[in-house]
Every structure is written in structure tokens, then in C-alpha cells.
Amino acid sequence: MAKPPTAHTVRSFDAEINQLRSLIGQMGGLAEAQIADSVDALMRRDADAATAVVLRDKELDAMEAEAERLALTIIAVRAPMADDLREIVAALKISAVIERIGDYGKNIAKRVPVLTQAAPVGPSVILPEMARATTGMIRDALDCYVDRDAELASQVMARDRMVDDFYNSLFRSLLTYMMENPHHITSSAHLLFIAKNLERVGDHATNIAEMVYFSVTGEHPGDRTKTDRTASMAVSDREGE
């Protein structure tokens, strides 16, 4: 773990950096809650809770705008260099990624009303565990950002594989389920998108960890290998936000 940097001669510079750090930390906490709550609403078949998630997404958007404003002010006023510069740029990028994670939470929540109308789909029981794995990654990625901890960042990157494995196995079970129960195809397809969203959340958390790693060490982590084997099965999962 990197040695905590000494204070700047101009102390208000430190105050501004800390303010940005804590805002990014809060954004991460909210995004994590959005993912957890959306999957929770899904499992409890609670359409109202899902609506609450959709409405709360605006808060993340506002926080991202605030983080951008803060970062731009620091760049304009302080002209940061070296690790300061890397950190401010990372904060800008991380806040954008967190906002995207929030969008996935919103997307998941939006599917809940339809799914509560239909009968439960068996393989979905794996979703809460997958959601826990991804929210854990978000939490740790943000912790390593706030603590400037490159070692923890490496660990978070390694965990992306686990989320990919969840997705690959859920993908297969849902395909089988759809073949065996054609009248459940609609809900199964929705669940497939939800699983894909969670898988993307894992990618984004990994991305944050990579940015933290670069911000702290000045070096990019080694190329990591992707394990999404479902691409060859040619399924389109593009969707509007």
C-alpha cells in the first residue's frame, strides 16, 4: 500500500482533494445500494421498492455533476501535477463510471414490475449472490480509491472472474429453462438482461480498481483476461438507458 502522501504546503488544496474523495466515496455507496436494492426488490417482487430505485438515480446524476465541477475547479486553480493530477483525472473518470453503475441499477429496477406479474423463474435464485459479489467489488474498489490502496485494487480486479462465472452459468441455466418452459421466455429474457447488467457492473468495478491502481502507482495493471464465453452464442443484449 502506498505511503500516505504528506500534506500540501497550501492546506486548502488538501481540503479540496478530500472533498472530492469523500464525494466519490458517497457516490460509490449510493451506486452500491442501488444495485443491492434493485435485486432485492426483484427477489421480494416489490414494485414500489423498484420505483424508489429508479427515482433515486437522479441523485447519482447530480453528484456526478458536482464531482465534475469540483475536479475542474481543482485543475483550473491548483494545476495539479504527478500523483495529484492522476488522482483528479481518476476521480473524474470514476465518477462517470459510478454514474453508469447507477444506470444499471435503474435498468434492473425497471424490469421488476413486469417480472412481478409473471411466475417466478427458477434460476433467478442465483441473482442475490451475484449481486452481492458485484456490490462487494464496488465497495472495495471505492475503498481502495479513498485509501489509495493499489494492493486491494489488484484483488478487486481478480474478482471480476467470479462475476463472469456467475453470468456464464446463469446464462446456460436460463437458456435451458427457456427451452424447457417456452411460456417463460419473456421473464427469462428479462432476467438474462439483468444478469448481463450485473456482469457489466462487475466490469465497471474492475475498471475503477484499474484506475485506482494507475492513480496510485503511475502504472497500468497488466492486461487481464476476460472469461465471457457466451459471446459465441450470438445473443444481442444491447438496450437503451
Binding site: 504528506t6 500540501h8 504546503t9 488544496f13 491548483r78 504527478a82 500523483d83 492522476r86 503511475g218 502504472e219
Partner: protein
């Protein structure tokens, strides 16, 4: 002349050594102001010297054209070469050396003579122009290169001291250029100038790059980052870190460098 690879991993152009300094020490009386500095100055680059006040930047810069010879009580040790030639060699003509390695100071110091004479003085004492017409060419070319020609072409007989600070500094650069130097040393050339005049000096440095090896001392980190390709960080009489400017300002290796450029020094 030795050639070596630029240090950048992303394939920076090849650079050629113009000057080399090895284990240079400077004493002012008993005080050791430079404690064994070794550095290369590349021909194609602008090299920036940065570091806290009193760390020895000016002292080292003055070593490169033996200006410390004129400083009472100063003693220089170590080896400095220009194109592989020892500048302390008794055969080295110091006046000639200072023409080859020109200098521009923090405070513009034009002679109290006409603009024309300020530029013509050096070429005249070095016998670079046989006729008035030749001298006119040198003066115009130097003022053009210094980005000053258009502003002064109609008032060449006005006194150099009547120009604005920024114009005076460009006049001093024209004066340095006029004797066909190979290296130009600049000690905080823009520190007394407003942002526009500073930008003009920086633009000028960029224009001159490649034609002359340039070494600039600056306290302005952004300026060092903008104008130079190589940066050397000095601290307490030692060279702490030398490297590609981009690397120094985005990812310095030494904690002391990082603390200095990020404003955490002292």
C-alpha cells in the same frame, strides 16, 4: 559525438549529446553549493532545471559556459564537455566558449545602446560580418528568430532600454542568437514578464528548439512542463532526478521530486 536512445518507452526520437557534465562540484569559499552533478544536455531538446531556491540551478547553469570564472571565490571541479571537448582545457578560448554557449538572464539586460547595436555587438567582436550589409542581415535574422522584428523594424535606432520588459527579453535572446550559438542557457527568462510576454517567450523557445540546445531554469512548473522535453530536478546541490518531462510531471520516480512538483515541499 555520442548518440544514445531517448529514454522514453514510447519511442522518442533519437537524441544527440551536446554537453556532458561529470561530477561537477562548485565551492563558494568553503561552502559546497554543487555536490557532484552529472548530467547530459541533448542537442535536440529543451532541458528544464527545476528545484527550490538555493539548490544550485543558476550555479550549475553558469558552469556550462564558465561564467563562474568571473564569480569571486567560486571554484569549479569536475569535467564538462561541449561536443566532447573539455571546456576547461587551457586551449579553450573562453570568449569563444561563451559565444557558443550563450546566456539569457532573469532580468533583461540590454546595453544602453540602440536596438540595432545590441544585436550587432556580438557579431562585431567575433568578426562575423565584414560589411554593413552583412551585419544588417544578421541583425534582421536574429530579431526575426527572436520574434521581435515586426515590433522594432521601424525603430532600430531607438535605445534597447526603451522597450517593454518582454521586448527587452526577446532583444536579449536576439543578442544571444546573433553570434550563432550552439547552446542557449536561460535563467528564469520569463519570471519578470506578464502572461502574454511569457507566452511569447515560450513560443520562441519552441521555435528555437532543434536549432539550438536549450537549457532553461524556471520556477514555474507549468512552464517547465510546457517548454521542455527533459527535466532535471535539483535539491540541496544535488541532481535528484533527470528524465523525460512528461514522466517527471506525471509520474516522478523520486519522492523528493514528487513532493516538490506537487507543492508539498518543506
Amino acid at each position: 559525438m555520442a548518440a544514445h536512445e531517448g529514454a522514453a518507452a514510447d519511442g522518442a526520437a533519437e537524441t544527440t549529446l551536446k554537453m556532458t557534465a561529470r561530477d561537477v562540484r562548485v565551492f563558494y569559499g568553503a561552502f559546497e553549493a554543487l555536490k557532484g552533478v552529472s548530467i547530459d544536455v541533448t542537442k535536440e531538446d529543451v532541458t528544464a532545471f527545476i528545484g527550490p531556491s538555493g539548490c544550485g540551478k543558476s550555479t550549475f547553469l553558469r558552469c556550462l559556459n564558465r561564467m563562474n570564472d568571473t564569480v569571486a571565490g567560486a571554484r569549479v571541479e569536475g569535467r564538462i564537455e561541449l561536443d566532447g571537448q573539455d571546456i576547461h582545457d587551457p586551449a579553450m578560448d573562453v570568449v569563444q566558449l561563451r559565444a557558443r554557449v550563450g546566456m539569457v538572464f532573469q532580468k533583461p539586460n540590454p546595453f544602453p545602446k540602440s536596438i540595432y547595436e545590441n544585436v550587432a555587438y556580438g557579431p562585431r567582436i567575433h568578426g562575423l560580418a565584414a560589411k554593413k550589409a552583412d551585419m544588417d542581415v544578421i541583425v534582421e535574422k536574429s530579431l526575426r528568430r527572436a520574434g521581435l522584428w515586426d515590433e522594432v523594424k521601424d525603430r532600430l535606432s531607438d535605445s534597447g532600454t526603451a522597450l517593454s520588459g518582454g521586448q527587452q527579453q526577446r532583444l536579449c535572446i536576439a543578442r544571444a542568437i546573433a553570434v550563432n550559438p550552439e547552446v542557449i542557457l536561460m535563467d528564469e527568462p520569463a519570471s519578470a514578464l506578464d502572461p502574454i510576454a511569457t507566452a511569447k517567450i515560450e513560443e520562441l523557445i519552441d521555435d528555437l528548439r532543434g536549432r539550438y540546445a536549450i537549457v532553461i531554469v524556471t520556477h514555474n512548473m507549468q512552464q517547465a512542463a510546457r517548454v521542455s522535453q527533459k527535466t532535471a530536478f535539483f535539491h540541496l546541490g544535488s541532481l535528484v532526478e533527470y528524465g523525460d518531462t512528461r514522466q517527471i510531471f506525471t509520474n516522478p520516480r523520486e519522492t523528493r521530486t514528487k513532493d516538490y512538483i506537487t507543492g508539498r515541499y518543506g
